[in-house]
């Protein structure tokens, strides 16, 4: 009982440093799947944490920092403003093979497939397929109707299956 109480107390006063230490890896992984490439993913997770820092006291006391940072990652990925920045940095992006017969490392192969989806489709697929979020949650995170979330997931999955079947030939 006392152990539980201690855990609660620790959680309620989580420092920014301990939060990053505990959740940085999972946030980075989430950002990688949302972005579809490593360069953007690193920017995304860093920017989201930097944005969270000034609000940390309020977030750690009464909010859900993890949910906040994850939402930041999604928002930044789909914001038009960020897209403009990404265009500038396009030359730095990892090459994505358009030829499905080209052998890529396992991780790069999986990334290259998801990286080919449009942003919203990719995020919808990640949230639904990889994170098992409900369509309502996907819709809320993406700011679309639930019906649109279904379409995004459906079309994203269909596109992935098409790419996967092409890769088998």
């Amino acid at each position: 009982m006392s152990e539980y109480a201690v855990q609660v107390a620790v959680h309620a006063t989580t420092s920014f440093e301990s939060f990053v230490a505990s959740n940085g890896s999972s946030l980075a992984g989430f950002a990688l799947m949302v972005a579809g490439n490593r360069q953007d993913a690193q920017d995304l997770v860093q920017d989201a944490l930097i944005a969270a820092y000034p609000r940390w006291q309020r977030l750690s006391e009464g909010g859900d920092p993890l949910a906040y940072v994850r939402r930041c990652i999604v928002n930044r990925q789909i914001s038009v403003r960020r897209k403009l920045y990404r265009l500038v940095a396009l030359g730095d992006r990892e090459p994505v093979s358009a030829d499905p017969t080209v052998q890529l490392a396992d991780a790069d192969w999986a990334l290259s497939l998801v990286g080919q989806l449009p942003d919203r489709q990719r995020i919808a697929v990640i949230l639904r397929v990889m994170e098992d979020r409900s369509f309502a949650e996907v819709a809320e995170l993406l700011g679309v109707s639930e019906a649109n979330a279904r379409k995004l997931v459906s079309r994203g999955v269909a596109a992935l299956r098409t790419h996967l079947s092409e890769g088998e030939h």
């Binding site: 920045y85 991780a107 639930e146």
Partner: protein, 458 residues
């Protein structure tokens, strides 16, 4: 045999777990502090600072004598009827004539504002004032030929979403207080916060200007805000709005004399007493009028009707002579446009055949097309088993509301409605009225139903 999707999921998960970018909390915190500090330093050096830094905005009361508009850094100077902006840190005084400015107020938006008569508001769609289910947005653009950037008023839509968030503007800083304007930034806010005119760096483009709420210590905290007598954010996220520029997205500038009107526009914002954040969807967002339910058979093809054959889908259909057909080869889509502009689209499935069925379809069945037996997969979710439907295609009808009135072909079972149909083993195809943006006329609606009823397998 392993499902390729499962293999892909496993590898992607592995990639995510192996990804370990450098995340040094101390460095991130330092960068955050540095960004905020730099934004402040840069502000004092940029040319626009003559207007923006230590700015006093004194907007006259010409339009609304009982609602003086005043924006100023603290301490608040006395109100003035002189239309001017002036800097308290220098002798610069800039006059912005506000004679004849227009006043914007719409029940769909939480604030009102004033703007020069030669600026143009866009986004107004009928009585819904630029609203859709997922958000409402108005763009106020300067006169043609002006280099000034537009101002955007954006609010959350009526569905659960956060189109309006704090993420858009980074490291905002206060430019001027707007006395008398308060609002809400957090669910937990028990007391309304001061709303100020703020700005943030827009990359190399200059400064974005916008309204923002301040925190208890007076710093700018939130650019997604709500206004009103009581805090609506507990259960009404749609009350959140932002009002400001977006240089990165829209281009233009906030520098120079012309841009001073822009600051006056922002500073003229006042709560809209007629706005109500709880407007029901079917009230505010009933963009499209209800129509009388069409009757199957009210119209029948005659000799004047033409024939469209879609080989890839294995179907043909008849359509009135005055409906115009166009084909988009890239989209693999045929559009049949009625004289009013209302459209029926015939679209081939492009991304495979896995569109999920709809479980919340409000449509009703008008009848079936015996000459068009179809099949459809009616999975409603990636993780659910596919249910295969077959039978004569249904003609379903959905009245106007948040979407246009429409009729379309589908198959259904229980609550599942699938409008991606296969005819005779051909590619999947969708056929339905889509507007866009307008209801059909009553006669066109009957024709639409007749077109769908004319579908035969080829």
């Amino acid at each position: 045999m392993t499902d390729p999707m499962d293999e892909w999921r496993r590898r992607l998960q592995d990639a995510a777990e192996a990804f370990r970018p450098d995340l040094d909390a101390a460095e991130l915190a330092a960068t955050s502090r540095k960004r905020r500090r730099n934004a402040g330093i840069a502000g004092g050096l940029v040319g626009v600072a003559a207007v923006a830094v230590a700015l006093t905005l004194l907007v006259p009361t010409m339009l609304r004598p009982n609602a003086p508009v005043l924006a100023t850094p603290l301490p608040v100077p006395s109100a003035s009827t002189t239309p001017s902006t002036s800097s308290t840190s220098s002798s610069d005084t800039i006059t912005v004539p506000m004679d004849g400015w227009k006043h914007f107020a719409s029940k769909e938006y939480p604030i009102t504002f004033d703007f020069p008569k030669d600026w143009v508001l866009s986004g107004l769609i009928g009585r819904t004032a630029g609203c859709s289910m997922s958000g409402c947005q108005l763009t106020l653009s300067p006169p043609k030929g002006s280099s000034v950037t537009p101002v955007v008023l954006n609010r959350n839509g009526f569905e659960a979403n956060d189109n309006v968030t704090d993420g858009f503007y980074s490291s905002p800083e206060m430019v001027a207080a707007i006395p008398g304007l308060t609002g809400w930034a957090r669910v937990a806010d028990g007391t309304a916060r001061p709303i100020v005119l703020a700005r943030s760096r827009a990359g190399a483009h200059g400064w974005d200007y916008f309204l923002a709420a301040t925190s208890d210590d007076g710093s700018v905290e939130s650019t997604a805000i709500a206004v009103g007598d009581a805090n609506p954010l507990g259960d009404r996220r749609e009350a959140l709005f932002s009002f400001g520029t977006a240089l990165d997205n829209l281009g233009g500038t906030t520098s120079g004399e012309q841009a001073q009107a822009l600051l006056m526009i922002l500073a003229s914002a006042r709560p809209n007493p007629d706005y109500h954040p709880t407007m029901p969807v079917n009230g505010v967002l009933a963009q499209f009028d209800s129509m009388k339910t069409p009757v199957l058979g009210a119209v029948a093809p005659d000799a004047s009707w033409r024939t469209l054959t879609v080989d890839a889908a294995g179907i043909r259909l008849r359509y009135p002579d005055d409906w115009k057909v166009s084909h988009d080869a890239e989209q693999e889509e045929w559009t049949l446009a009625a004289p009013s502009g209302y459209q029926l689209r015939v679209g081939l499935a492009r991304d495979g055949d896995e569109y999920f069925a709809d479980e919340s379809d409000s449509s009703v069945v008008l009848g079936t097309v015996a000459a068009a037996p179809a099949t459809a997969d009616a999975a409603t979710d990636f993780n659910q088993p596919v249910v295969t439907l077959s039978g004569p295609a249904e003609i379903r009808w959905r009245n106007g509301g948040t979407d246009v009135a429409s009729a379309y072909l589908a198959l259904s079972r229980d609550s599942r409605v699938q409008d991606l149909l296969h005819f005779g083993g051909h590619r999947g195809v969708q056929l339905g009225g889509v507007g866009p943006g307008i209801n059909p006329t009553a006669a066109e609606l009957d024709q639409l139903v007749a077109i769908l009823a004319s579908v035969t397998t080829s």
